[in-house]
Every structure is written in structure tokens, then in C-alpha cells.
Amino acid sequence: MIAATPMAQQANHALPTGFQLDEYRIERQLSLGGFSIVYLATDAQGKEVAIKEYLPNSLALRGEGEICPTITPEHLPAFRYGMKCFFEEGRALARLSHPNVIRVLNFFRANETVYMVMEYEHGRTLQEFVQKNRPAITENFMRNVFTRLLNGLREVHSHKLLHLDLKPSNIYMRNDHTPLLIDFGAARQTLAADTPMLKPMYTPGFASPEHYQQRELLGPWSDIYSVGASMYACLAGSAPQAADTRLDKDQLIPAMVRWEHEYSDQLLETIDWCLSLNHLYRPQSVFALQKALTEPVLPRPAKREAGWIGQIVGKLKKKTASK
């Protein structure tokens, strides 16, 4: 019997290349997160798949050359509890079949933990894409990507699910520039929201104010805040100010101000609309947001008011009037 080893804060070792995991052969590690490792693998037919392994760093430790992680008895309850979250993700994804939502193919148990097999697509995350292709982030790119992405999000919401962790690193870009929603690790069934089973999980900058306080207010509008923040991040190249600090002191420069003339007023206005701190002022449904994104761009008024403050006031007035 080995004495309980303290869980060192070191990264878990991935399964080795060539390892036969159930019916799949591990090719390489794709990513390593705090809760999971994602592998590229091939199935029995030689088809590429992505396999996500539940392996929370702080609770289960896999040393070099080991296959089964070490889980000390004291960590077992927490390990099993976290597994519930992993199941939530699988449960959420299993019910979705949409070209803009990652498809789950299989779920199985091995090596004292659980694995989720997903389709593998060639591409990169929107975050990586934006960092490497700043000039490609045009008005059309933004509208095309986000309108399609919203098709996927609409599907999610129509199943009474919320994604709750939308951000550019959870949006995958296929090589043909069609977006794919991935990582439903935070997804929850909204119907069960009155009996919170799981701890909140969010990413600062992309999480709505409701994520931080009043979680009972979470709704489609919360994912819409995250869409707005993602659009903002695409233009800015970095995450916007986190909602909790915005509630204290809002220092977020409105998109309308920051990128005026670079993009259409309508697009920038839509981003600012999504980023309203008060959830009631945001688009209330994905459909409403999609409508705003697909409307033809209005020709710019010939005359503009002097000074940006005047413009903002004008926009706000216009928006309030249209409600």
C-alpha cells in the first residue's frame, strides 16, 4: 500500500501514441485542459475522431508511462462528482445533431475514467484563427461566421439547453470557414436550473453578468452576451472587460466607438446590443440576433453628428425607440 501521495500541481501525462483505447487507436494529444485531455484517434475503420478523456488535474494523476490514473480514496468522491459534469456535457451533445454543433459519436468507460468520442474536423479554433488572420476579419467574415454559428446555438436553445461557455476558443472553424460549437462542458439543462447540481463554470470576459450573480436569471440572453463578447474579441484580438468588473466600473469601449468606419454601424451596434449589462436590453433570442446580423447594411447617413458622444446618444435613442 502506497501512502496517499499529495496531488502535485503537475500536468497529467497523456496516453501514448499507438495506445489501443477500446476500439480506438490514440494518435496524439490535441489539447490538455484542467479537466480533460483531448486526443486525436482513429477508429477501427481508420476514421479520425477526437476523444475527450475525463481527467481532472487536481483529483486524478497519471504519471509518465502509466495508463490508469491514481485517484486517492479521499479524492474519489470529488472525482466521481466531477464525472457528473462530464456526463452533463455528453448528455447535452448526444441530443444535438446539427452541422454547426460538434457531434458526439460514443461514450465509454475505461482506465477507471470515462471517454467521450466526437467527430474530428480539420480546422482550428476561432481564437487561433483570429490571432493568425487579423486581416481576414472582415465585415462579411463576421456576419457569415456568426450567423452560421447562431444556427447551431438556436438548435442548442431549442433543446432547452444553454451553452454557458461560449467564447472564441470554444468555437471551431472548419477549413471551409464554417463554424462549429464545441466544448459543452458548461452546458446545462435549463429546466433543471432550479435545482443547481453543478458548480458554475465560466470564462471572464465572455461570461454574462448573470453568470456571476443571480444565476436564476440565466437564459438564452446569457449565451447572447457571450456571442457579443466573442464578436468583440474577434475585432479587438483580446477578451472584453469581464462583466463583474463592468458592473463595478464599466470601462468597456463600445464597439460603435472603437471601430467606427471600419465596420458597418449595424454590426457594431449589434455587438453593443448583445453586450448590454442588463439582460433585458439584449436580444432576447438567437433569432432576434440573427435577424439583426442578416439585415442588409443600411447606407451610411450622409451627415454625421459631431463628436462620438452625440452619436452614441443618438444610437441609444434609436434603439430605445425601436423596442
Binding site: 474519489l76 468522491p77 466521481r80 462528482y81 464525472m83 457528473k84 456526463f87 452533463e88 455528453g90 448528455r91 448526444a94 441530443r95 444535438l96 445533431s97 457531434r103 458526439v104 459519436l105 460514443n106 461514450f107 465509454f108 468507460r109 470515462v114 433543471a192 435545482t195 443547481p196 447540481m197
Partner: protein, 303 residues
């Protein structure tokens, strides 16, 4: 685990059906049980019912998803069933305690373990032949073993229904255990009451069940047995399982509704996740159920 299973029970020409039967399975273990309540005693069907419920109940509690020791499980569960019948008859102040036979079989890790008391039988069939069967705890079986009578004579012997071990009697049952018997792909296990094996030779059953669809073959065999028994047909009960390999596939197992609802282990998948118990720890069983539920949803929504 992958298997096909079918069970059916018929009244025959009797007024009541005093046979009870059932099966249940977790991901890694299968239990089948047949009990034949004794007609000479009051409440025979209650004794049989208690026996089946006691075994399936214990299985649902302990097969999570495997049993630690299948023989120990069978021994304890059958003894408990005997005590439960005794308790019932003293609570009800019955003059004569109800009695029942029992035959029960566990399959786990491709190995079969069975036990019986009385004259309900288990057959193991491979390639259309009888590979093994239980020895009845009956007087005629003793006479056969002593060479006093032949198998053929036994079928019409006046004392063929007298058994010396059962559940619910004054004396504790003598439980006879099998060896650990590894199963091969295609093996068929049959558990049945004497209403089936009496008129129906084992060799014939083995041939009929070879490569047959159990959902058709079992009812056909019961009909044949019923016809052969004629006007004296006893209650007929039969569970047949064909072992396929070590993968569990829900879609291949047919569930009969004729017995008690014992399928809780496998089919109540939707319960998982609705329990708002915030800090509760997942059991192995819940993990299996969650995975089964997710895979079910994947299949359902991928069409």
C-alpha cells in the same frame, strides 16, 4: 455482455399458474430464476413469488454491476427466500407452510453459476446437444441413480412429483451448486419447470433451440409440451438465453412482461441526473446508467 433472452409461463390445464419466473441483468451480470410453487400446498404461487422476488431483489442491490461471489450470492439469496416464506406463513398463521422449488443461474464474465432445490431444471446446450443439466431432488431421480428404474420409466412413475428438497418446508432446503461453467458463443441455457421437461425430452429441446430465434422457439416448445402432456398439462415455465459474447447490447434482449417488473437495473435510465442531490457521489451503477443513457441518445438523435 451480449445475449438473447426470452421467457414465458403458461397455466397448462391447471386452475392456477403457480410457477413464477424472472430475469434481470446489470451491465456485467445476468440472473435468471424459475420457481415452481407446489400444488399440494396452499399458496404455492406465493412461495414461488417470494422466491423470485427475493433473488431478483438481492441481485438489484448487489450486482453493481458485478456480484462479488456468485455462488455465495445464490446460497444467501436462496436461504433468505426460504426464511421469507417461513416468515410469511407464520405471519399468516398458515397450517401448512407454502413451498416451492427454485432453480437460479448467474452469468458473469462469461461464466455460468447455478444452483437449485427441487425438480425445476437447468439445461446447458451447445451445438444442439445437452451438455449439462441439474439432477432433480426427487425420489424418482434417486431410484434412477440407484439403477432401480430407467429414465423412461421415471416419466410415468406414480411418485415422480415427490421431491426431497424445496423452499418453505420444515427443513432447510438442500441447495445443490453447479461448477463454474465457462460459456461459449452460441451456448443456450434453459431454466424450466417440470411442466416443460416432463413431456419434453432435453435432447429435443436442445435440437429445437439450436440456432433458432428464441422468441419463436420458446413458445413453440411450450405448445408442443402442452400438447404432449394432454389433459393433465401442469404449469409450464421456461427461460432460455443464448449467450453471444462479452458485449452488452440492449437491443438484442427481449423482455417478457409476464413476470414481475424486475428490469429496473437496465431500463430506468432516465432517472439519472434528475436527482437534485447536490453532493451525492456517483455509484458504479449510476455511471453505467449515465453512459448507457448517453449512448442511447446518440443513437436516437443521429438518425
Amino acid at each position: 455482455m451480449k445475449f438473447t433472452i426470452f421467457q414465458e409461463s403458461r397455466r397448462g390445464r391447471r386452475a392456477n399458474n403457480e410457477d413464477r419466473l424472472g430475469y434481470c441483468y446489470s451491465r456485467d451480470a445476468l440472473l435468471m430464476v424459475v420457481a415452481d410453487g407446489m400444488g399440494g400446498h396452499y399458496y404455492g404461487e406465493i412461495a414461488a413469488q417470494i422466491a423470485v422476488q427475493t433473488l431478483t431483489g438481492a441481485f438489484q442491490r448487489e450486482a453493481l454491476p458485478q456480484l462479488q461471489d456468485p455462488f455465495l450470492f445464490l446460497q444467501k439469496a436462496i436461504s433468505n427466500a426460504h426464511s421469507a416464506i417461513r416468515d410469511y406463513s407464520s405471519e399468516q398463521r398458515l397450517n401448512d407452510s407454502p413451498r416451492t422449488t427454485v432453480v437460479a443461474c448467474i452469468v458473469q464474465d462469461n461464466v455460468a453459476y447455478w444452483a437449485h432445490a427441487g425438480d425445476s431444471r437447468l439445461y446447458l446446450m451447445r451445438d444442439g446437444r445437452m451438455l449439462a443439466r441439474t439432477r432433480d431432488h426427487s425420489r424418482v431421480q434417486l431410484l434412477i441413480d440407484q439403477g432401480a428404474i430407467s429414465e423412461a420409466q421415471a416419466t410415468s412413475h406414480p411418485e415422480r412429483n415427490r421431491i426431497w428438497s424445496c423452499l418453505g418446508g420444515e427443513q432447510a432446503p438442500e441447495i445443490e451448486f453447479s461448477r463454474k461453467t465457462p460459456l461459449e458463443n452460441g451456448d443456450v441455457l434453459v431454466l424450466c419447470s417440470d411442466g416443460v421437461w416432463g413431456p419434453m425430452p432435453g435432447e429435443l429441446m436442445a435440437m429445437s433451440l439450436k440456432d433458432a430465434n428464441l422468441m419463436q422457439a420458446v413458445p413453440m416448445l411450450l405448445s408442443q409440451a402442452e400438447v404432449r402432456a394432454g389433459t393433465h398439462a401442469d404449469n409450464l415455465s421456461m427461460i432460455a438465453v443464448r449467450w453471444e459474447d462479452s458485449y452488452f447490447d440492449q437491443t438484442t434482449s427481449a423482455v417478457s412482461t409476464k413476470t414481475m417488473p424486475i428490469d429496473a437495473i437496465t431500463t430506468h435510465l432516465d432517472q439519472f441526473g434528475r436527482n437534485p442531490a447536490y453532493k451525492s457521489e456517483l455509484t458504479d451503477d449510476e455511471i453505467e446508467r449515465a453512459i448507457a443513457e448517453i449512448n442511447h441518445a446518440i443513437q436516437k438523435f443521429s438518425k
